[in-house]
Amino acid sequence: MNLILIFIAAAVTNNFVLTYFLGICPFIGVSNRLESAFGMGMATTFVMTLAATVTWLINHYLLIPLHIEFLEYVTFILTIASLVQLVEMFIRKTSPELYRALGIYLPLITTNCAILGLTLFVVLRNYAFLEAVIFGFGAGVGFTLALVVMAGIREELEFADVPKPLKGTGITLIIAGLLALAFMGFGGLISS
């Protein structure tokens, strides 16, 4: 039960993008086409789940026994960067189309604050191993959800008559705000 709650909380009620406002850069940058948004979401989910898993292991079997918890930021960033490299190679090999569509945003997953935030949340909330993995996966799903919803809206928006000063990023940020408001409605789903 607890695991399900963690998953739903990470994916919907405490959505990383729309409630914590983490990872806004790819959220704005890659959300103009549904296909690449989904690809980006998948890549980030993969990295998030792996990052949560690996950093949990590093934290519990290396940093805590050796009493060097202060290294948590540095090691986590190192881990995330390496994982992103791995994902990049993997995507380049398996799907050159997706690789080109994601472009610069793929290496930018490295500096996606949602992922570093995730690994730090895991430490902060004292999650057990399985909880951490589910939390990472849930956060990734939430990120994908936000990205895909946004991309869907933006694709429709292509045909809308947007006032000139709001074209592009302006209207995107306004939609992001409205989406965040809508996601606040999920707040009552879990009371904690």
């Binding site: 050796l66 060097i68 993997f90």
Partner: protein
């Protein structure tokens, strides 16, 4: 403590390095060596004149035999040679040049305000279409000069001067100009004479705004037999009729506002 911390970091770093090294071997992407070879021969400036975001992308499209214009305007002989090796067809691009459709230097144009904002054309243009009275002419802050990857543009008396030797018609300046007064014109004709003004204001207004603005008097239209024609209150050049025998010098001399200039 320091030792543990250092050793941990070194250990972790080494571990990830090894994992990545193995992965890069396992997941190596094999690319046609021709692409790399051709890519080497291209100028590698990623100027985008061919319509591809980078020289590498262009090389890839050429090698894959896609139906595209396989000319590199920038690369010159060496690039043409390398491309012809792959396509089997020797093509050289028609020489084009960027032309600025405004001839007003500092002092030629009257101003309505003093602009002290960010010194770029783009920002100046946003504030009620710039500090000068003419809403169509060159703003003179040199956005085109900064956009040019080849250093072909220098600013002289508040007007860009384009070096035909260096200009490869990549079109960077065309999109950099907020006024949209830079255009790519064919340069392999004998003469290139243009009416350097894009003002849509009626002649009476142009007279007040600018010393060299086109007042749409139609003298050039008459003298050139229609190679120049007046539309939207300014004279335009029919580029497809540029090769015709026209007394260009006469037109330049007769233009009352000296709007018509000789590029070549």
């Amino acid at each position: 403590m320091i030792l543990t911390a250092t050793l941990t970091m070194v250990g972790l770093g080494a571990f990830f390095a090894i994992v990545l090294a193995i992965a890069s071997q396992k997941l190596k992407v094999t690319e046609d060596p021709k692409i790399e070879e051709l890519s080497e021969a291209l100028p590698r400036l990623n100027c985008g004149a061919c319509g591809f975001p980078s020289c590498h992308e262009f090389a890839k499209a050429v090698v894959e035999g896609k139906d595209i214009d396989t000319t590199c305007r920038v690369g010159g002989e060496s690039a043409a040679e390398a491309i012809s090796k792959i396509t089997g067809v020797r093509k050289t691009a028609a020489k084009k040049i960027a032309v600025v459709f405004c001839g007003a230097r500092e002092g030629d144009k009257t101003k309505k305000a003093v602009y002290k904002g960010v010194a770029t054309c783009r920002s100046s243009n946003i504030i009620s279409t710039g500090a000068m009275n003419c809403a169509y002419g060159c703003l003179g802050f040199g956005d085109c000069m900064r956009a040019c990857p080849f250093g072909a543009i220098v600013m002289e008396d508040g007007l860009p001067k384009i070096d035909p030797e260096k200009c490869v018609a990549c079109g960077k300046c065309v999109s950099a100009c907020p006024r949209g007064i830079i255009e790519l014109l064919p340069f392999d004709t004998d003469n290139l004479v243009v009416a350097a003004c894009r003002s849509r204001d009626p002649g009476s207004v142009v007279r007040k705004n600018c010393r060299v603005g086109c007042i749409a008097c139609k003298i050039c239209e008459r003298l050139s037999g229609g190679v120049f024609y007046v539309e939207d209150n300014h004279s335009k050049l029919k580029t497809e009729r540029m090769e015709e025998k026209v007394d260009w010098d006469q037109i330049i001399k007769k233009c009352p506002t000296k709007t018509i200039v000789k590029i070549k």
